[in-house]
């Protein structure tokens, strides 16, 4: 892969050995690396759902822009969960407090865009670490959706 090897690797320091490293906060009892990746992705999607809900609660005027994208995250949760059993109960992501959502709607929207970009990067990282090709494809797709969310909200 002469040409592709020149592509930047996100500064991830990825190597074959990194595949087995669990996400920082994933429970140790998850059976394999891909389950830990799915667990981390699930938590990320749930956090985005919580953020979307908190922002819409404080800024109902953003509902029309956000709700179609919120629905995507709900689908992401379902798809990640459907890939196989996760022994740790999904859920339990704390709602962001209302105080954490900026009072200014534009700033709140910017916070969502930031979170979508962070999520897109995290799904890409997970894609590159996944052992299973199917999971790699799913995470690539979910991350692409989140990158597009940022673009969609830029025009909102």
């Amino acid at each position: 892969m002469v040409g592709l090897a020149a592509a930047p690797l996100l500064g991830l320091g990825l190597s074959a050995c990194s595949i087995g490293h669990p996400a920082k906060s994933a429970p140790a009892e998850l059976p394999d690396a891909d389950s830990r990746l799915r667990w981390a992705a699930l938590r990320g999607e749930q956090s985005l759902l919580s953020l979307h809900a908190a922002v819409v609660a404080k800024h109902p005027g953003l509902a029309a822009s956000l709700e179609p994208l919120t629905a995507h995250h709900t689908e992401h949760v379902a798809a990640i969960t459907a890939e196989g059993p996760l022994p740790i109960a999904a859920g339990g992501v704390p709602e962001p407090s209302a105080a954490a959502v900026p009072d200014d709607a534009g700033s709140a929207l910017a916070a969502v865009r930031d979170a979508e970009r962070v999520a897109a990067d995290a799904r890409l990282t997970g894609c590159l670490q996944a052992a299973g090709p199917r999971l790699a494809g799913l995470l690539a797709s979910v991350g692409a959706a989140e990158a597009a969310h940022d673009a969609a909200l830029a025009a909102a």
């Binding site: 892969m1 002469v2 040409g3 592709l4 090897a5 592509a7 690797l9 996100l10 990825l14 179609p68 994208l69 629905a71 995507h72 689908e75 992401h76 798809a79 897109a120 890409l124 894609c127 590159l128 090709p133 199917r134 790699a136 494809g137 799913l138 995470l139 690539a140 797709s141 979910v142 991350g143 692409a144 959706a145 990158a147 597009a148 969310h149 940022d150 673009a151 969609a152 025009a155």
Partner: protein, 182 residues
């Protein structure tokens, strides 16, 4: 139209669950065919846009040319002959103004997404997988910019089992026509 893969060493017997030995090559060829169509299509698109939109089309054209060149080099590195661009491509609908040009651009970006998801799932090293995953995201972003449409699963929508059909998706606009390439 699929190019013959490089001779495969017969010393190792692939396991039944392993990807096909030429899965990555097929996926690269399909993505390359899609990029050829994209390079052609953006030439059409750019002619109907002005100002910032035309700049966006130029930028997209440069990205697609770059990925085309990368794929051609990678395919040659695998010992195969890269698929060539067709002499011309039939547009899926007439492109006569800015809205139809934007729709064509968005359509092309959408059609590239499953091709690159296939490369994500068949890539045999991290660099190729990253190249493909970034291309999926880039195509999703550009599709949204052109048409404002978003998708929950770019490249996977409507596919029963994406991982089982590498390279099985028709390439974008890859219908031969008499239109000369500009």
């Amino acid at each position: 139209m699929r190019t013959s893969p490089a001779p495969q060493p017969s010393s190792t017997e692939p396991s039944p669950v392993a990807p096909q030995p030429d899965g990555e090559l097929d996926a690269m060829q399909a993505a390359l065919a899609g990029e050829h169509a994209g390079v052609y299509g953006y030439g059409v698109v750019g002619a109907h846009l002005e100002d910032d939109a035309r700049d966006s089309a130029r930028d997209a054209l440069a990205v697609h040319r770059s990925r085309r060149n990368t794929l051609e080099a990678e395919i040659r590195a695998l010992g195969a002959q890269p698929v060539a661009a067709l002499p011309g491509y039939a547009l899926p609908f007439p492109v006569t103004d800015e809205p139809s040009a934007r729709l064509l651009a968005g359509t092309m970006e959408q059609r590239l997404q499953p091709l690159y998801v296939d490369l994500v799932t068949t890539a045999t090293d991290t660099a190729a997988r990253e190249f493909a995953a970034r291309a999926v995201a880039d195509a999703a972003v550009r599709a949204t910019v052109w048409t404002a449409a978003t998708s929950a699963f770019p490249g996977l929508d409507g596919r029963a089992d994406a991982a089982s059909t590498p390279g099985g998706t028709p390439s974008a606009n890859a219908t031969e026509s008499s239109t000369p390439e500009g």
